[in-house]
Symmetry: C2
């Protein structure tokens, strides 16, 4: 059986287009997936997605809209600008998720996917509904504000990630990750690690991304 080596995704969570683009240029070629972060999308709009697509024609690009409603419209808007994947928040209705999936696949074909962002008190029964709707990617989060309030990755989180993987999800994990914390996930078939400031806000972002990739290969390779 071939082992999957987790992807590395960089999240561009800047509040300005220039900062996000500068960070993207500095690390885009080192990572597998480039994310237009929610903070930046809300601040500058989907022009961010368009610029990323023009800079990186071949890379997977995610619009982290955390879409809660009007899934078809938001997915179409972002897919037209070049997003392959888009996120929906877990408390969106199933019709919203289905509409988003339909719209992104109409523009991007089979490359188009929806990812569910897990926040708050979602249930595994809901997770099964997402699978039934044709959505098999989920993002397990430690929220930035919860991290600032002192929470961290624990056994409870890892068990939930494992259960989602066992259900058939490809699971991305994110929130306060750095090269040292990757080993917490050893033994779990994580699909993608998402890092933001841990890569973009250091002196040499490309080198930081390479160190993430090396540690991922060391543990999962």
């Amino acid at each position: 059986m071939t082992k999957h080596i987790p992807n590395l995704q960089v999240a561009l969570d800047h509040s300005d287009l220039q900062g996000a683009i500068k960070a993207a240029v500095s690390v885009g070629n080192e990572v597998d997936i480039i994310e237009a972060g929610t903070v930046c999308l809300l601040q500058v709009g989907s022009e961010l997605v368009e610029v990323l697509r023009s800079l990186f024609p071949e890379k997977l690009i995610v619009a982290d809209t955390k879409c809660a409603d009007a899934g078809g419209t938001v997915a179409k808007n972002n897919a037209l600008r070049g997003a392959d994947w888009m996120t929906c928040i877990c408390c969106a209705t199933i019709p919203t998720m289905k509409a988003a999936l339909k719209a992104i696949q109409e523009e991007r074909g089979e490359r188009g996917e929806i990812q569910i962002e897990l926040y708050g008190d979602w249930t595994f029964e809901q997770a099964q509904q997402w699978l039934d709707a044709g959505i098999s990617q989920a993002i397990y989060h430690q929220s930035r504000d919860a991290l600032l309030a002192g929470e961290t990755w624990g056994e409870k989180d890892l068990n939930k990630v494992k259960k989602l993987i066992d259900m058939g999800f490809r699971v991305s994990v994110t929130g306060g990750l750095n090269v040292e914390t990757l080993k917490l996930f050893a033994g779990l078939d994580v699909f993608t690690f998402i890092a933001g400031r841990g890569i973009t806000e250091v002196a040499d972002p490309a080198q930081a991304a390479r160190e993430f990739k090396e540690e991922i290969r060391r543990i999962w390779g």
Copy 2:
């Protein structure tokens, strides 16, 4: 006891800045609150808020970000451009909501408020936590996609709205509202009715807004 007459809020849910601004100019003076809608914010960024503030210096302006994380950053970004209120999604963590409230009040003073957008399976226990965090506005939704899938306002919705009001929330309601459906809410102390296309996509938006206001006064005046 003085009765509260519900506010009328127009939601600008366009996918382009020009359409949103044109709609705002056509009805802004007829409504109590102007909302920069999520679809439009994700598409053009918070410049929309800035333009609305410059056009309507005295009106209450809401940035409907449906913020799920990084509450402090998103609230600051929108407050700096002139938003008085901002929405958080109900599955955001309490630290996110508190960070958003703190940031918006730092920029806008007591006028600054956070509203919780109710989607999916929130609980009244969570609602009490929002009140305890100093947030007393909630938005009860019929999601656009659920409406398209055939759902509508029912007794179950009205009972939940009433319970939230009884807990101490000022509750806005939205989703497929028109002048004819307002009377479904008669007897409920609704804080604000939010309408989008029901106002902006008709031949005479200003007249449509006035008809909403007249019907509101007829029922609650």
